[in-house]
Amino acid sequence: MNTTPDTAARRSDFPAGKAIYCTLPDDGTDKRLLVELRKKRGIIRAGSATRRGIAALVTVTTKRGKLPEPNLIKQVFVLCTDDQADEIFDFIFWSAKIDKPGRGMMWQQAVTGCTPYELPADIPDEMTGA
């Protein structure tokens, strides 16, 4: 498929950015983190999804040829601009207590283009309903 001048021009409106991913235990940390990202850093291009986590594949003792039981985990994903990435990465690290054992891990990948995202002005707050 050829790129038309219109789509090429539109692509320039969608700058490169960073995608930050974070795996967390299924204890509500993901929701708290998303609220903090929005309120303290203005990040709304984010979400969380449920995953099966198979942790420490090497160190967990299992029967030969068997995998350890998977854990239900949450994977948080955040999209931000290049210049926000350092700050957001560190914010997530400390806010989600990734430095503590058993809290999960996080990583950052480059994104070659991303669209902006805005929310309607009159939606109620998910915590207060106001």
Partner: protein
């Protein structure tokens, strides 16, 4: 509060395989050094419907497996997964590697001391 130890030279391997092969793939990845994996279910659609009677040969229930590995392990783990998942056969699935700029996780105190990095 100690400093964050950023992990670099990482890659993510994502593999979409038949559900009944995902355990074998994970075991193969573990055997060559993978430390952790994230898995979720997915259902494929689209091309299968155009394959007519041959479409039944394509299993639509897939697992998406994501493994974070160090860059120097990526080829070894990629190859092990490819062979185990049988990705050289049509309709079995596909996989890809993408670069990871940095990562972070809990680093045990003993490792921090050994590296001489901000022990608590």
């Amino acid at each position: 509060m100690s400093e964050i130890i950023y992990l670099t030279d990482l890659a993510s391997i994502t593999c979409i395989v038949d559900k009944d092969r995902s355990d074998a793939v994970l075991l193969a990845a573990r055997d060559v050094g993978a430390r952790a994996a994230i898995v979720h279910s997915a259902q494929s659609w689209g091309v299968r419907e155009r394959l007519g009677a041959w479409g039944v040969a394509v299993e639509t229930e897939k697992d998406v497996i994501m493994i974070l590995v160090s860059s120097d392990q990526q080829d070894l783990i990629f190859d092990a997964i490819y062979q185990t998942a049988g990705l050289d056969a049509p309709g079995r699935g596909f996989m890809f590697i993408s670069p990871v700029e940095r990562g972070a996780t809990y680093v045990p105190e003993a490792v921090r001391k050994r590296l001489g990095v901000n022990p608590e």
